[in-house]
């Protein structure tokens, strides 16, 4: 069949964007909460190791927990204050994790302690990666994977293209949009660091067509000595996922089960890039991030620069909520997590806070049997057959599900979104994947034991 290049991927969905409510609002600094709660699991990998003791006084930017191994990052004090307690604290997953209660000094300022700068000109690849780890940087798009691990090019592979991900395809969220409009210089500095770290020969910034102002702004601010191409792609969910973005921009497919480096690409979120560009020249650690607070239940919607560890309850008190809110999500509505209690805190991976009231939530009353309409097949960006997988999941046929590429699913939720029978497809797959993973781990253990 003829293959027309459309600079986008196949399938996908078009949920209502709801970005107008906040995309015109500049980033505003959030006040310090009286007490900040820092869980040590804010990233994928080993929890950070606490280096402070109860009663100790720390200053904003000071290292308070160090990385525990390679796939881990350190943590810095988001505010000057006193360590009150070191106990287990609740996290969004519902599990408790080691954490720190930090009571802010009433006189705490925005000033941040400087560290050892990473010099762009003289630093080696290893030093830049070390600098990124030291700054505690993780993927700010939501995955919270340690960035230095992602940037480490494996032996025998090479990186040709560095892709800066400014897609932000989740409805409601406008943090990346505002970062591109307000932190262009940091982004370009970050790109310089990333180019050196990865050895990439070209840079593409991918932006969806609904952020034309960001495209124009970046376009106008590209430094003369930096080769950057900015590509505008049509609006479609889930374009912001690494695989889809690589297909949209490069017309390459990441092999099943493989990483983007297999097709010589590395994808970094635009806010993460800006953070690298801002922190590394000063040797600082990450203390705050931009978060979109929106949704029908929020009174003062906007994009806020919020210190990491700020309790969700404090955040909602500051922006004001409708008394009737029934649901709060961290992240976007497609892949974000529903919050079960407001005592958890903002973490590095929090890109948005959405509050809905009872009347805004349309919950399907009834689940019908699958009528094989094929809507999910036409929505799945990975060309899986969610209808078939859903039936197999009902029968707990996990081996057959694996044969049908269950483990390729990255849980974008497009299938559940379109299903007219309201079958919770991606929810089935998420559960099935965790069962398959557990079984695989158990099988491996048995094998090791036998040998």
């Amino acid at each position: 069949m003829l293959n027309f290049r459309t600079n986008t991927f196949k399938n996908g969905i078009h949920p209502p964007e709801h970005k107008r409510e906040t995309n015109g609002l500049p980033i505003r600094q959030f006040p310090f909460a009286p007490v900040i709660i820092l869980p040590m699991v804010q990233h994928i990998g080993a929890p950070s190791k606490i280096m402070v003791v109860e009663g100790q006084e720390v200053v904003r930017g000071q290292l308070i927990a160090q990385a525990d191994g390679y796939v881990s990052v350190p943590m810095h004090a988001p505010v000057s204050g006193t360590i009150r307690k070191i106990v287990n604290v609740p996290t969004i997953s519902g599990k408790m994790a080691p954490g720190i209660f930090l009571e802010a000094f009433p006189s705490s300022t925005q000033e941040v302690q400087e560290g050892t700068p990473v010099n762009l000109e003289s630093a080696t690849t290893e030093e830049i990666l070390q600098g990124i780890q030291n700054a505690g940087i993780v993927g700010l798009g939501g995955a919270a994977f340690p960035t230095h691990v992602k940037l480490k090019i494996p032996e025998g592979k090479h990186c040709e293209v560095l892709i800066i991900n400014g897609i932000e395809c989740e409805p409601y969220l406008t943090t990346d949009h505002r970062v591109m409009l307000e932190q262009a210089q940091d982004i370009f500095t970050g790109i310089r660091y990333l180019l050196k770290a990865t050895g990439a020969t070209r840079v593409i910034i991918g932006i969806e067509a609904n952020k034309q102002d960001a495209v124009d702004h970046l376009e106008a601010n590209i430094p003369n000595d930096l080769q950057v191409s900015i590509k505008v792609v049509p609006v479609k969910y889930p374009q912001g996922s690494e695989k889809m973005l690589i297909t949209s921009l490069l017309d390459r497919e990441v092999p099943s089960g493989g990483l983007p480096i297999e097709v010589h690409a590395v994808v970094v979120n635009v806010a993460t890039t800006a953070e690298i560009g801002r922190l590394l020249p000063h040797g600082r650690g990450i203390q705050e991030r931009v978060i979109t607070i929106t949704g029908p239940g929020i009174k003062k919607k906007g994009n806020y620069l919020i210190p990491i560890g700020t309790p969700l309850r404090y955040v909602l008190e500051q922006v004001g909520v409708d008394g009737e809110i029934s649901e709060v999500y961290m992240g976007g509505p497609m892949m974000g997590t529903a919050v079960s209690n407001l005592d958890i805190s903002i973490v590095k991976g929090t890109s948005g806070i959405l509050a809905f009231t009872e009347k805004d939530v349309i919950r399907p009353e009834k689940i019908y049997p699958c009528i094989k309409c094929g809507a999910c097949v036409d929505a799945c960006p990975l060309f899986l057959n969610p209808s078939r997988l859903g039936i197999l999941a009902k029968f707990e046929a996990y081996d057959q599900m694996t044969e049908h590429h269950l483990m390729d699913c990255f849980e974008c939720g497009s299938c559940s979104y379109v299903c007219p029978a309201h079958i919770p497809l991606v929810q089935y797959f998420r559960l099935s994947k965790s069962i398959v993973r557990k079984r695989q781990a158990a099988a491996k253990q048995t094998l090791e034991y036998v040998q």
Partner: protein, 339 residues
């Protein structure tokens, strides 16, 4: 906000809007003009047949749900569609007790026995029509002329035939265009065909209204346009070639398209989501196979009309098509062989 418990669920937290109920209801809306025109053409007889099949389908579905101790599923509108489609494939003076029996067969044998909505292999209305054709070969080929003067005042006696009695044959005056061609080599005027000014089953007559209904559903994204396009396209091309070879022996493609139940079948029956394949390519294959079968049965088969059997065979093939035509999964080089 501070005391209330929050509702938690896993993502996605938003949904796309369409639901099965809405789709089914819209299919009914799309069928209503076709049914109204059938009543206009054939009068009270057709109205009674249609009402009987719809009521019979709804009653059967409700009753079967009750005896299997499940919640009644009549509110999903699918039984209404089955009833309407069945009624539209029957002759206008079909005895009502047979029509009622047809509705019971459609739901019980066509759908419920497989496990209800979503699990049926064949289109329920066509299963029933096939059973009726085998059981009552005379009644189901007893046609009635369109636009009789007293169609709104007089009900044909055969409609009220007692159960298990054969109707007196008194309506044979209106042969269908396909039968006229097959047995008497008479070609019906094309515009009469398209506008439905002909004799035939209640709903098989007005191609224009059927097309409009289909177009509405396609625009609303409730129907896979590939199915009717593949079927009608195949019939057009295949019968076109045959007509070019020998225009005396083979009818023109336009006649083939607009006669018999092809329009109704291609647009409202073959597109039944449950019985058709799930992938775009699979659907095209399915449509092409049905199109070929229609032409083969009509021209070389013993029956004047072949749409019903063509679609039923297509339904039977579609699970196999789904197993054979699997989209290549993103990031894999070749389609892995799985069964």
């Amino acid at each position: 906000m501070y005391s209330k418990t929050l509702h938690i669920s896993t993502s996605p937290h938003i949904a796309g809007g369409l639901s099965i109920e809405v789709i089914m209801r819209n299919v009914v809306w799309a069928l209503v003009p076709v049914a109204l025109f059938a009543v206009y053409t054939f009068g009270l007889n057709a109205l009674m047949v249609l009402v009987t099949t719809v009521i019979s389908c709804l009653l059967t579905e409700h009753f079967l749900c009750k005896i299997s101790k499940k919640e009644s599923t009549i509110s999903d509108w699918s039984a209404v569609i089955t009833g309407l489609l069945l009624g539209l494939t029957l002759p206008p003076i079909f005895p009502l007790w047979m029509a009622f029996f047809g509705g019971v067969i459609a739901i019980a044998l066509g759908k419920f026995i497989f496990g209800g909505l979503g699990y049926n292999v064949f289109n329920p209305a066509l299963v029933s029509r096939a059973v009726l054709q085998a059981a009552f070969p005379v009644a189901i080929t007893t046609w009635f002329p369109a636009f009789t003067d007293n169609r709104f005042s007089v009900v044909n006696a055969s409609v009220f035939t007692f159960p298990f009695m054969s109707p007196g044959v008194d309506g044979l005056s209106g042969a269908t265009p396909l039968a006229a061609f097959k047995f008497d080599q008479v070609i019906t005027n094309n515009s009469d065909l398209a506008l439905g000014l002909i004799s035939g089953s209640t709903g098989e007559t007005c191609a224009v209204l059927i097309l409009l209904g289909g177009l509405y559903l396609i625009v609303r994204n409730m129907m896979n346009w590939r199915i009717p396009v593949a079927i009608l396209g195949t019939v057009l091309v295949l019968s076109g070639i045959l007509h070019l070879i020998d225009s005396q022996a083979y009818p023109s493609p336009i006649f083939m398209l607009f006669s018999g139940g092809l329009m109704l079948g291609a647009i409202f029956m073959a597109t039944d989501m449950v019985g058709s394949p799930i992938t775009s390519l699979g659907v095209l294959i399915y449509g092409t196979v049905i199109g070929i079968l229609v032409v083969v049965i009509r021209i070389w088969g013993g029956l004047p009309e072949g749409v019903m059997y063509a679609i039923l065979l297509g339904n039977a093939l579609s699970p196999h098509i789904d197993n054979l035509v699997k989209p290549r999964v993103y990031g894999t080089v070749k389609q892995p062989q799985q069964s």
